[in-house]
Amino acid sequence: MCLGVPGKIVEIYEANGLAMGKIDFGGVLREACLTYVPEAKVGDYVLVHVGFALNVISEEEANETLALLNEIVNLEEELPTQD
């Protein structure tokens, strides 16, 4: 239950005074409360825990991390390893 699930916001609306959203979890749509991510827009990816989005996932940071990780592989391919 502690494991947050990333999903994509497909719709934003209000219910009982709370910002809510329809979130697409790889094809499965569920409702989540967006009150803690006021900056979130339709199309953003958010991390959802027990029905609440806790943060917008930074696409930029994700890409940067993956690019850095890819760099190690490229470096390894260029330089012969010692082992």
């Binding site: 239950m1 990333p6 027990v50 943060n55 696409e59 994700a62 190690i72």
Partner: protein, 372 residues
């Protein structure tokens, strides 16, 4: 982005490269604790412990809320759930956690109205639809579920839903880390901090811990590459003799965390001493409802009798949770105690160390990354 989010951080080629990078770095044995049960689950599921050099030992931390909710509180839940006018709502995992006598499933089987919900807001809705019933939500969890639970209380107040209350068992990570480091039998040399807890709380709380105990702490995510990156950075610090807090989960975690969520937590909860199952009371390690919200506190609303708690005499979950024993060292592991018939809480949730070992022990014989 979609594919990248799900599979980018599981890329086999990148995983292998990261493992080689760690192999080149490591010169001696190191014991690293992953605090979070979700990470324990990933480590066993993807066989990461088998991929890494033998010098690296994972000590599995107590970060599974289902596992550490105290027996006293489970017993209270069982009493409240059995009351005739109560609808008791809970996350599914809690239903099979053994109390001193039975579990929530057995209460349900005996006619109790016990319902599984996905979010405390679902529970609130049930309260709204059943005004003549008392609806109780079992509010367990670490800092990750606190924003949701706190908001359900504010909503109940705003919408004047008076038949709703929480049975609160909130636990917090930093005091548990201190308790582990203070223990004379501690072997932990570096920590992977729980990424999703830090999504809410940021990582400023860990800076004094790293400083005071001279341990490296790396904020770490849950995908195989996230965990390996966390391990890499901890090992790099251990080998270099430094003890800093690093963030290896920058796509979700910032230094200060989610301020809006912290503010609501602060408004609804206050710090309290909390008893952890198998470990004992850790000072200032939990949250309880503030006095202003006492009417939403199920412990206040229902008179429960103190009953003599009783753990299974075979269960060594307390030692497992403190990283002093591995699940397979328990005499009941996989025989008398299985996920279908758990003797201890760490066998119930898939985030519990015993269940993770039980579910993924096949990784010991099969090629590890096949499941990725």
């Amino acid at each position: 982005m979609d594919t990248k989010l799900r599979y980018g951080f599981r890329d086999t080629k990148l995983v292998q490269a990261k493992v080689r990078q760690i192999q080149k770095l490591v010169t001696r044995p190191w014991a690293i604790m992953e605090i979070c049960g979700g990470q324990t689950h990933s480590i066993k599921k993807f066989g990461l412990d088998q991929l890494l050099p033998p010098e690296i030992e994972f000590i599995h931390g107590p970060g599974c809320p289902v596992c550490v909710t105290s027996l006293e509180l489970i017993d209270k839940a069982l009493q409240i759930a059995a009351l005739p006018n109560v609808i008791f709502t809970s996350y599914g995992d809690m239903l099979r956690v053994p109390g001193s006598k039975g579990d929530l499933f057995s209460v349900k089987a005996n006619g109790g109205d016990v319902r599984v919900v996905y979010s405390p807001l679902d529970s609130l809705k049930i309260a709204q639809e059943n005004p003549r019933k008392e609806v109780v939500f079992f509010a367990i969890g670490f800092e990750t579920t606190a924003p949701a639970n706190a908001m359900s209380v504010l909503q109940a107040e705003a919408m004047r839903i008076d038949n709703f209350s929480l049975l609160v068992s909130h636990v917090c990570v930093p005091p548990a880390m201190r308790a582990i480091l203070n223990s004379p039998s501690n072997r932990v040399q570096g920590f992977l901090a729980a990424g999703h807890v830090c999504t809410v709380m940021g990582y400023w709380e860990y800076i004094p811990i790293a400083e005071e105990y001279r341990v490296p702490i790396v904020v770490t995510g849950f995908e195989p590459l996230d965990i390996l990156e966390g391990v890499y950075r901890v090992v790099r610090q251990l080998e270099g003799g430094t003890h800093e807090v690093e963030n290896a989960y920058s796509r979700l975690v910032t230094y200060e965390g989610n301020r809006a969520a912290q503010k609501v937590i602060q408004q609804v909860f206050e710090v309290c001493d909390r008893k952890w199952r198998g470990i004992g009371t850790i000072p200032k390690s939990g949250w309880k409802l503030r006095d202003a919200y006492l009417k939403f506190d199920a412990e206040h609303r229902f008179d429960t009798q103190a009953i003599e708690t009783q753990e299974s005499p075979l269960c060594i979950a307390g030692l497992v949770l403190q990283g002093l024993k591995k699940p397979y060292e328990c005499s009941a592991f996989g025989t008398l105690c299985t996920p279908q018939n758990p003797l201890g809480a760490t066998m119930v949730s898939s985030e519990g160390a015993c269940a993770a070992y039980y579910l993924y022990s096949r990784n010991l014989e099969s090629p590890k990354m096949n499941h990725v």
